[in-house]
Symmetry: D5
Subunit: 92 residues, 10 copies
């Protein structure tokens, strides 16, 4: 099932740069492993903002929450989830 997810990153202004870099590095690796196994098929940057729109393709709500809450940046993000159904006019 598909979910559209918007994530807005809010890193504390006083986080040491090395700590931020380490978190982002783990985030990237984790994100790319999910992209590779097909559960994170789309990842786009919101132009001009430290935010992304993503599409996840998972079994259901529990798996989605497991994936999102395991993101290294999870404690520093506002996350908004929209369940996506099939559209009657979609040809794909």
């Amino acid at each position: 099932m598909l979910y559209l997810v918007r994530m807005d990153v809010r890193l504390p202004a006083d986080m040491p740069p090395a700590q931020a870099a380490e978190i982002k590095s783990r985030e990237k690796a984790y994100s790319q492993s999910l992209q590779r196994d097909g559960r994170w098929p789309h990842l786009w940057r919101v132009a001009g903002e430290y935010a992304n729109y993503s599409v996840f393709d998972v079994e259901g709500h529990d798996e989605l929450h497991e994936l999102l809450s395991s993101l290294p940046l999870f404690p520093y993000m506002d996350i908004d989830v929209t369940p996506l159904a099939r559209h009657p006019s979609a040809i794909a």
Copy 2:
């Protein structure tokens, strides 16, 4: 270039059913022609709402506006546009 577009349909309560059906029929045909030529690569229903999230792949703002404002349902929709940039962690 990619744009995420959310469309919320608000048909007037007093629109005759035949008129609504005719508009929706033209909307569907128009939407499918854009999906087929590759400019409307994703079209999803927001679960539980008369709304969709779509991704458009067009030359730029002018083409996007031309496509959206030509939708038969355009006068009856609230539309929100988000420009999508490439994400540094995206593998695709």
Copy 3:
């Protein structure tokens, strides 16, 4: 899978009472059939408002949308959907 759904009913002020009564009657019958087959396990009135909070238990987003968009009151409701995952502290 579980979904929390809030529905706010906005009937047009000029809808003839007989038409409103007929729609509400069909809504009640449809709602009760879904409650009986287990797909609409909770239905509560928001105290003081023409609105309800409901929990649906269905296969996924497509079935949820199918159920909600078939409600006789669907064209007259604002609907908000929240996917519910299992809580790690829940004992049930």
Copy 4:
């Protein structure tokens, strides 16, 4: 009487992990004791967020406030309460 309650947890970014773990441990024990005695019949995770939707079944407003303000996470949560009345179409 039933109340729908949404709780959003906002732990300070600089809270020591041991302190956070201790608070969450007490929160879980307290929550489960209330679930066992029937006053907290539903506890769901909002998919993708550090938040929950809960249903409480208590004598009234005073008992609800007593329960919620005793939560170990209470100082770190935004809480929203909706009183739930019986719905005329509910069969349960």
Copy 5:
């Protein structure tokens, strides 16, 4: 139990004055009967607006909803309900 209730009246602009007067007359009589029996202890006008703040003292959510949904103006009002608990510093 006490509930703070805000009601904002939105009469349709095209409602015939006689119909509006008749509804308001019934609203006033109904409101005063509830004030006299003690279930509507406070009724205040929001200065400058066609709105009121009220306090209701009833058995619970079901009775509150029964009273509010029986108001002749109910179909034309936005209503917001806040459950009020005893305050630890209150002397009354």
Copy 6:
């Protein structure tokens, strides 16, 4: 004249408990003295939140501001004021 006032308390997470206790103690004493002299006739807890709704009965805006800005918790509260006029249907 009457004013409805909502106060939401936001104590800094890092305020020492002894300091918080001292402020709350002074707040309680001050609040009760105003309740006793009749200028703070109603004080209710918003169920589930660290917030209250109050009614003040004072000479006018200047006295209201003097009372509220003298609250020991004033620097840590969001305050919203609504002037209340006599309602034409009120019997009291």
Copy 7:
């Protein structure tokens, strides 16, 4: 006592021009009589909007509500009231 009042006019699109002109004419006469007797000391147009910011100087909430609810445009306006107290740095 002083009140800052913002009024946003929302005339129905289908009001006959003669009726609108008649209401506006009465509004203007009424407004000017209140300006002349000193109870409406300031009346400004919000640049670019069919709206105004006004300052009223009246005995209290009841008189303010009496004046505002007597405005010929009252049924067609959104009104927001802010009570103004003396500022400790004001020299006037």
Copy 8:
């Protein structure tokens, strides 16, 4: 002086097409005369919406209001005005 102005057009759904066309035609002529005399230096379409962002260069608030309230579409628009000052980093 410069003002940034956003205009959102909301034509009534039941306006006859000929009337809408006539208003839009007058709007276009009026807009272009102001663009030609230099008082409306920028006019952009918000991509995907029946809305525009404009920059006006006029003597002051009174002239701005005079221009905007004379727009044939003025009764059907939501307008938001932002006064623009010189930026200390601007080179133009």
Copy 9:
């Protein structure tokens, strides 16, 4: 030209009292000098809040920004500006 300005003061909870007192003292002196020379003709306290509504009478946007950004409290305030035009019904 006239501008209505609302200022909401948000001093950091951990600012030393002596520093806060020094900033407020300079703010008061600066404000009174502008009041005396006629550029800050109205200054009112929003009853119950650490906020004010002010009217400024200056040459234009640049002078307004110069005055406001020179306020000692400027870094600690949320500021909202509304340009005021002459109202056709105003007699002053």
Copy 10:
């Protein structure tokens, strides 16, 4: 392609003045280089606020994001982007 961008600066209250000055100095130099090469054709101060409205003229979303995320103040700004299309009534 053109983008309207609003930037609101939120510097932490405890940032050392020398650090703030250094960041602003780099921001100014970077901004002016982009203005000179034509990619940042308009930069205006929002009167009364630490904010600006800007127009960017770039190849597309990726270049816009590259420019904005390279701003020295980027980590301290809320940014809102609106894609601008050609308006059918524009003469330029």
